[in-house]
Symmetry: C2
Subunit: 159 residues, 2 copies
DNA sequence: GTGATTGCAAATCTTTTGCACTAAA
DNA sequence: TTTAGTGCAAAAGATTTGCAATCAC
């Protein structure tokens, strides 16, 4: 599918990270980085790969996702115990998470201001501050005094 | 162990929540609510129960933890994919999470100021805003411009 | 060639489920 | 009684692991 440009880009990302550009890794990297930012689970990426005629095992998908995360090309997002999402957006940002559907969306870091952060315990350092804005379907009174206009509604098949 | 007072308290918490005060539930409630606030996993609470001579199955521990969460007596904390922590502190607060050890600690809600929260998507409402301050062992340059004094260091055998 | 990678299947781990049995009300 | 609750063992998911076969360099 597509030109050869993105193919080269995926290849570059891998080699620059010291990962041998195997057929599987390049294929997965293309699926992950060709389009716009996205959130995927291993299972989901594996299905996409197969649908794209990329023969790869689920175990390799897991390995690759972790290697890319280690290389700083992906960020693991923990919003649900029991399932890991990998985010291609590794810039400073937070998330909206619609628990009923599993819908996950980025919130620019600049849109949330976290102040007065307490000092971390001695011997430790802060690696990241995650802000997860958990959502439910609008119903009886809102739980928090936060407006309820509308940027991007949870619609699609989610996840 | 202990007097009969906390026993009664655990019993009251259950009945007030409409949960039949069975031997297992009362025992688990005592373990959870007698002391100060704590974070537990199902496996951990189960081990404690057995150590305290409370015969209860892991399945029942899971059931009870979820029932108590549904009743608002516990709050589930998601900081690690694949493992659920239950927090006896259900007041407004956030968390410090030391990933290397699994150490989890509360951060008073008043210690973190979250501003400029974006509007939730149409048809949804915010149920909660979780702030997770992820920690690693102090090493090469800190990742974020946040001091590094010391409130409560991660020590114990963790989890 | 040679060591890194992959695939596959089995193994782990955490959590859930089905159902006969037990205990509260 | 009668209905909720419990235990156990099996099932279900998600992720990891062991190791022989395979591929990149």
């Amino acid at each position: 599918m597509t030109s050869t440009r993105p193919f080269k880009r995926a290849l570059d990302l891998l080699t620059r990270s010291g990962l041998r550009p195997t057929r599987q890794r390049v294929g997965l990297a293309r699926l992950l980085f060709e389009g716009c930012d996205r959130h995927v689970t291993a299972e989901q990426l594996h299905a996409e790969a197969l649908a794209d005629s990329l023969k790869v095992s689920l175990a390799t998908v897991y390995n690759t996702l972790h290697q890319l995360t280690g290389a700083g090309l992906l960020r693991e997002v923990v919003v649900d115990a029991g399932r890991s999402y990998f985010d291609t957006n590794v810039t400073f940002h937070h998330h909206f998470y619609h628990e009923p559907s599993g819908w996950l969306a980025d919130v620019p870091g600049s849109k949330v201001v976290v102040e007065a952060l307490p000092q971390p315990p001695a011997g430790t350092r802060v690696t990241r501050v995650d802000v997860i804005i958990r959502l439910a379907d609008a119903r009886e009174g809102a739980d928090l005094p936060v407006g309820n206009a509308s940027p991007s509604p949870p619609e699609g098949p989610k996840i």
